[in-house]
Structure formats: C-alpha cells, structure tokens
C-alpha cells in the first residue's frame, strides 16, 4: 500500500479504525521489548560470570585480568571425569529420550495407547525433577521399595545388599532419572508438532503402501516432526548436561558432574573459589555449545543415512516386538515416576518405616499438620509470582507472534530465536552474574525482580509452546473475518484467541509449571525474601527426611497440575457444545 494514500484515508475512517491503526505502533515494538527483557538479564549475567572467570572481581580483590582461574580449574583433580560425566549424561539422556519418544509415538499413533499416553502427560510433566528423582531413588535403592517388597521372602536379604545402584560411577541412575522426566516433555512437544503436519494421513499412506506402523511412522512422519522439535531436543541436551538437583540425588559423587562441582565451589566458604567456579561456568557454557554443535552434525549424518534407509523401501511389517517394547518402555517411564511419587506420599503419612517392611509400621498425620501452618504463605507467593510471570510471558509471546502475523517477518522478529538462549544456557552460567547486576542497580529482592527472573525462564517455554500452533493456524479464518468487516484487533480477540485457546492455555500451564519449579532464580534474585514451595522444599530436603520431602513434593506437583487441569478443563467447559474445538490444533 502507498503510504500517501493511507494518510489521505485516515481522516475519513471511523474512530475504531483509527485506534486500530495506532495500536501497531506499540505492537511493532513488542519483539524488540521482548528481546530486551530476555537478553538484557542473560547478557548481564554472562558478563558477570565472564569477568571473574578472568580474574576480575573487585569485591574479592581481583582487579587484574589473569588466566589464574583457568589454571586452577584445570588443576582440579578429577575435572576430566566430571566433564566426561556431564557430556555423556547429556548425549545419552537426549538420545535415549528422543529414541523412546519416537518409538512410543510411532507405535501408538492411531491406537488407543496414544490417547492413554496423552492423558498421562500432564501429571507427569507436573512432577518436579527433584521430586521425581527422590521418588526414583527410593524405588530402586538397595533398601528401596522394590527391594522391600521382595525381601526377605524372595531375596533373602535381611539387610539391604551392598550394591551400587544409585550414584553409580557411570551415571546410569542419573540418566534414568533424567530420561523419565525428559520423555514426557519431548512427547508433549512431539504431539504438538504432529497436529501441524497432518501425521495421521501420512501414517495411513505409509500403511497402505505396506509399511508396518512403526517403520512407516519413522520413515514417513518422523523426518518432518524432527525439525519442529529440534529446539526442545537441544533444551533437553543442555539441561541434562548442566542439571544440579537431579544430579545431587542420583549422580556419582567421586567425582560429580561438572555442574555439581561448580555449585559446590560457589557455595564454598573459601571465597577465592569464586574465580575458579566462574571459569568452570564458562567451561560449562562452552561444553553445552559444543555439544549442541556436535548434535547438529549428528543430525546431518543421521539424515543422510536415514534417507538411504527410507528410500531402501524395507517395510518392517513384523514390528509387533517393537510395539511391545514401546509399550513396555512407556509404561516403565510412567510407573517409575508414578510409583516414586506414591512412595513419597506414603512417606508423608508414615510413622516409623524400616527396612524390610513394605509399608510403614504406623501411620500419622503429624508431618502434614506440622507443615500446615507454614504452607499458605509460600503457596501464595508461588501462585502470584507464577501467574504474573506467565501472564507477562503470554502477553509478550502473543505480541511477538501477532506482530509477525500482521507485519510479516521483520528483523526483530527474525531474531526471536534468541529467546531460546536462556533455555540452552546453563543457569549457573549466568545467575550469579545477574544477581550482582541487579544488586548493582538496586532492584534485586523486589517482587518485580523475582518475576523478571522467572520470566527469563518462563518465556522461552511459553513461546516454544505457542509459536507453532500460532504460525500454523489456518490464516484463511483471519482473512474471512477481515473480509466480514473485522479489524485486526477484533480478529485477534474474537477469532484467533478463542480458536487457539487450548494451545494458549497449555502454554500458560507450561509456563506456570516452569515458574513453580524455579529455585536458584527465586533465591538469588529475591535475596531469600520470597519463599515459594520450591525454595521451602529444597531447604527442607537438605534435612533428608522423606516425610517432609513427600509433603512438599506433592505440593510442588499440585500447583502445576492445577494449571494443566485448568488448561484442559476450561476449554472443555467453555466449548462443551462445540465439537470442532475438541481437537487441539
């Protein structure tokens, strides 16, 4: 359109139209604002980590740039093993989780199992990582629930066997703990992607060409799904390499993975270790970046080999075994989280519960009653901070996407992938730097700062969950509405938003769950003044009493679960008489 004629017409337009035209001026800036809000803290944090890594931290007398922190870092005994452990945990967890997800979806799409998997997802996603790890640890330990159930009558173990299951040197227990939580996350992302590529029909075509369901899916659908879930896969890779809470519970300790080592140094009373820890954080950052690069190369190789396999035409008709395996593994994932959680719930009502009793000697409400008084305040803080962070994330995310739809791809829009940086940047890599920065400008320990810190982690997930449904939504609905006389704002509020209500609410639920789970940002940025269920849970977990851990694990799970329940229930209620709305896009 010619700008000159736009001016000429504006005078004749009705007021609402003129307002609608003024909006874009704000809307146009949303991507830039979003990038600033997100990258500002991340960049400040990374700088705040980089400087001490090269010896600059005046508060500790570090005024000169030096390589001493790096020398100290590389002189750490066992650093090589720590790094190897982190890297192998990252690759093994990511690869197995992805393989498992592919197998589960390949075997279950179009069957009753698919609906079952779908239904199990949100409860699984609601379980915090640490709680799942605690639950798993109690399940599989030599004195754990499984051993208790079988002892001594079947095993003859009067005392638990002295075998290494947890904290094994190869990190298998940690990988297992990560996989059972990453599989649901990747499943969610995969299922969202499936809707956009018409996977159902592709699968039917493959079946009609004589392919077995699993092979047919892997050959016909997976190559198109993968690009859509690439970012989540990288996020899993980065997370598994830098996880702390799960590692503390399940990872080996001699030596621990790099991230645990870093936290230990950062918390060491010997403040000089700060320099070395910062150098380690930079190393962690580089490792993650390198691992993602290697994974990317792997993708190219696999794609090339895969094409040959696909074009080879093998049908894989006898895939009953593969399907059985998929069901078994999906079940194992679900059960290990669910049973672990049940174990913690039982603990929260347990009196004395010694080995080898399968259930506690006696039951008591004492643990719950003792915590009851102190539960309310953290719950309120958790909810208010979570709702605020999620709300802002939704606002910014929708603003960016709406901007993209209305004005097309623009430079700021194109750089939106930068939003995912916090997802793949290890938290310890920049949180301490961010804390110093916010303290310097004197806005730390305020409610707003805590919300902002949460936002940095919430927004990428919200955007991730929102972007694809938004972009693949049939734009002809919008065109139709516009031609019926509706301006862009009316289209947004009355057509696009209601039609996308399910993905929008799902994104909100994911965002809220992410917010609920934040420990370090809440503690560091809030200066400990904002007690959430998670900060309380972590503090109490350091006391090691499974009863208390059970109470808080349940609470930590209940809040996100409520969010997911609303995301499912609200549209179902609102659109209970609209069959066209029951299938999420």
């Amino acid at each position: 359109m010619a700008p000159a004629s736009e001016e000429a017409y504006s005078a004749r337009r009705p007021l609402s139209l003129r307002l609608a035209l003024r909006h874009p001026r704000i809307l146009r800036h949303v991507p830039a604002i979003t990038l600033l809000v997100m990258l500002g803290p991340t960049a400040a944090g990374v700088v705040g980590t980089l400087l001490p890594a090269f010896g600059y931290l005046p508060a500790l007398g570090g005024y000169a740039v030096s390589l001493e922190p790096w020398r100290a870092l590389f002189a750490t005994p066992g650093l090589g093993s720590s790094v190897r452990l982190s890297v192998s945990a990252g690759f093994v967890t990511t690869f197995l989780s992805l393989a498992l997800v592919a197998l589960i979806v390949a075997a279950s799409q179009g069957t009753r199992m698919f609906a079952l998997v779908q239904r199990a997802l949100s409860p699984l996603l609601s379980v915090p990582h640490a709680a799942a790890a605690f639950g798993l640890a109690f399940l599989i330990a030599p004195s754990g629930w499984i051993a208790r159930a079988l002892s001594p009558w079947a095993t003859g173990w009067e005392t638990p066997p002295d075998v290494v299951i947890l904290n094994d040197p190869a990190g298998l227990a940690m990988m297992a703990g990560l996989i059972v939580k990453e599989v649901p996350f990747l499943l969610l992302m995969t299922m969202a992607a499936l809707g956009q590529i018409d996977a159902r029909r592709s699968r039917q075509v493959a079946l009609s060409l004589g392919y077995g369901p699993v092979v047919g899916w892997l050959k016909g659908v997976f190559p198109r799904v993968y690009p859509q879930i690439r970012l989540p896969v990288y996020a899993v890779l980065a997370y598994s390499m830098s996880v702390v809470d799960v590692a503390i519970i399940l990872a080996p300790t001699t030596p621990p993975p790099l991230a645990v080592l870093l936290v230990r140094w950062l918390n060491d009373p010997d403040l000089a270790l700060r320099f070395q820890a910062s150098a380690g954080a930079v190393l962690q950052l580089l490792l993650v970046a390198g691992a993602i690069g290697i994974w990317r190369l792997g993708e190219i190789v696999v794609a090339r080999l895969g094409r040959r396999w696909i074009e080879g035409g093998s049908r894989g008709r006898r895939d009953r075994a593969a399907r059985g395996l998929a069901g078994l593994l999906a079940g194992a994932c679900f059960l290990s989280v669910a049973l672990g959680l049940v174990g913690l719930v039982v603990w929260s009502f347990a009196g004395l519960w010694s080995y080898p009793d399968t259930l506690p000697d006696n039951w008591t409400l004492r643990t719950w009653m003792r915590q009851a008084d102190s539960l309310l305040a953290p719950v309120i803080t958790t909810v208010t901070v979570g709702v605020a962070a999620t709300g802002i994330a939704l606002l910014l995310g929708l603003g960016c996407l709406e901007n993209e739809v209305r004005f097309g791809q623009r430079p700021t829009t194109k750089s939106l992938w930068l939003l995912y940086l916090p997802l793949i940047t290890p938290q310890i890599g920049f949180l301490f730097g961010l804390q110093t920065f916010l303290t310097a400008i004197d806005v730390d320990r305020s409610w707003g700062a805590v919300v902002l810190a949460h936002l940095v982690f919430v927004l990428p997930y919200v955007f991730l969950a929102l972007a694809d449904p938004y972009r693949t939504w049939d734009r002809r609905y919008a065109i139709t509405a516009q031609c019926l006389g509706a301006g862009p704002d009316r289209v947004f509020w009355t057509v696009r938003l209601p039609m996308l209500l399910i993905p929008v609410l799902t994104a909100a639920a994911i965002g809220f769950a992410v917010s609920v789970g934040q420990y370090l940002p809440t503690l560091l940025i809030g200066a400990g003044r904002f007690a959430t269920v998670t900060t309380e849970a972590v503090a109490l977990a350091s006391g090691g009493d499974r009863r208390v851990i059970g109470v808080y694990a349940l609470l930590q799970m209940a809040l996100p679960f409520l969010g997911f329940a609303l995301a499912v229930g609200l549209p179902a209620l609102l659109f209970r008489r609209r069959k066209g709305m029951t299938h999420a896009p």
Binding site: L17, D474, K579, G580
Partner: protein, 232 residues
C-alpha cells in the same frame, strides 16, 4: 516471465462506475512479472479467472482484498463502485470472500457466526436476531441459529458460510474455488444457489477456479491467466 494478454470482458456495463474494477494491475515477484491485468466486473455478473497453479490467481484475489503478501511487488488500483479502495485495510473494503472450505468459526454457534458478520450499525439485539433468523430461513436453515457448526452436513455448512458473507453486506464477492470440495450433486445445487443470491443482490463476483464447469455455469466472461515461464 512472459504474460499472455488476458481476454478482456466484452460487455461493459452502462454505468461506468458500478461494480468492481481492477485497473493496470501488475504483479511481480523478485523482479519477474507474474501478471498484468485490467478488468471490470459489473454488478450481478460473474467474471471467472482460470489458469494453472502459480499463474497469480490467488495473488489477484489477495490484491482485491487488500492482503497482498509483502514479498510481491504490486502496482495498480482497485475500484469498487467508482471508489478507490486500494489503500484501505481489508475490513474497510466491503469485499466478501468464500473459500473452498467453509471456514465457519468452530468456537461460535451458527448464529454466532452470522452475528459476527452482521454490521455493527445494526445495534438493536432483537433486530440482529431477526436478521439472522431471516437469513437462515432463506437458506433453508431455519432454527439452526443455536446449532454447533460441527454438527452440520457439508451442504448446510457451505450455505451458512454464504449466508455469513452476505450478511456482512459486501459490495463485491470473491470466490476462491468455492465448490471444489463438494460432491457432484451438492456442487451444482450450491453453485446455482450462490450465483442466484449474488444476482439478486446485484453483487459483482470475481471467481477463481480450476473447473471449466464452474466457469460455464457462471455464464460470465472468462479470463485465462498464463502459466509461469518455468512450466513452458
């Protein structure tokens, strides 16, 4: 890219301003010209645009609606009843469109879909309700206002979509392969219904289709756009 000259419509309506006019339209993509067109659709007639994929049919419709993809470079004017609407946003043009899918809003009832289209100027609630009921009866859909669109048959949905676009009081109607998804019997029936309503209301209709039968049934002039050079 070469463009074949479009067949110019033969009949020009007596009132030189009435109807939909596309003047000196030139559409190019990455510096290559896709099409060049001047045409006029008089009230109550249907101009059919035919041509293979990639010949610029959709871009032509987008231009008339005011939704040209910024990737295309476009010159030319579009006039509606003599008024230059080239610079107007889509919602202010009063150009209605029907796609091959009915695109009924799944979150609204049938009546809600129609109310969405009804101009705001009709403010009285009872009046709005009456207008909707009337429109539904005309399409043999009396009493359907509270129904969920998902529970309607294909033919019923197509009719609701037409009623919806007509309720928005357009001054021109665009049809983007509107009949291609309907089965043969229904197709003829619905086509006649659409053309009849357009004639009744004296709407200029610009139709894009692959189907010669549609073009013949329309009875108006046919513009055939050329294939892109790559196909030759």
């Amino acid at each position: 890219m070469t463009t074949r000259p479009a067949t110019a419509p033969r009949d020009i309506a007596p009132d030189p301003g009435a109807g939909l006019a596309v003047e000196n339209l030139r559409i190019a993509l990455h510096g290559r010209e896709l099409l060049r067109l001047t045409t006029r659709v008089t009230p109550g007639t249907v101009v059919t645009v035919m041509g293979p994929s990639g010949s610029g049919k959709s871009t032509l419709l987008a231009f008339v609606m005011g939704l040209t993809d910024p990737a295309f470079s476009v010159q030319g004017r579009v006039l509606l009843d003599g008024r230059n609407i080239t610079g107007l946003p889509p919602q202010a043009r009063r150009v209605g469109i029907l796609f091959q899918d009915d695109l009924l809003f799944p979150h609204l009832s049938v009546g809600g879909n129609l109310a969405f289209a009804l101009p705001r100027a009709i403010a009285d609630r009872r009046e709005r309700r009456t207008r909707i009921e009337e429109a539904l009866s005309l399409a043999d859909l009396a009493g359907f206002a509270d129904r969920d669109p998902a529970t309607l048959s294909g033919g019923q949905r197509a009719r609701v979509a037409l009623v919806r676009v007509l309720l928005s009081e357009p001054l021109a109607l665009l049809l983007d392969e509107p009949f291609s998804k309907l089965d043969a019997g229904l197709r003829r029936q619905f086509r006649e219904f659409v053309f009849a309503r357009a004639r009744d209301q004296g709407l200029p209709v610009l139709m894009v289709t692959h189907d010669r039968e549609d073009a013949e049934a329309a009875g108006g002039p046919i513009i055939t756009l050329g294939a892109p050079a790559d196909w030759e």
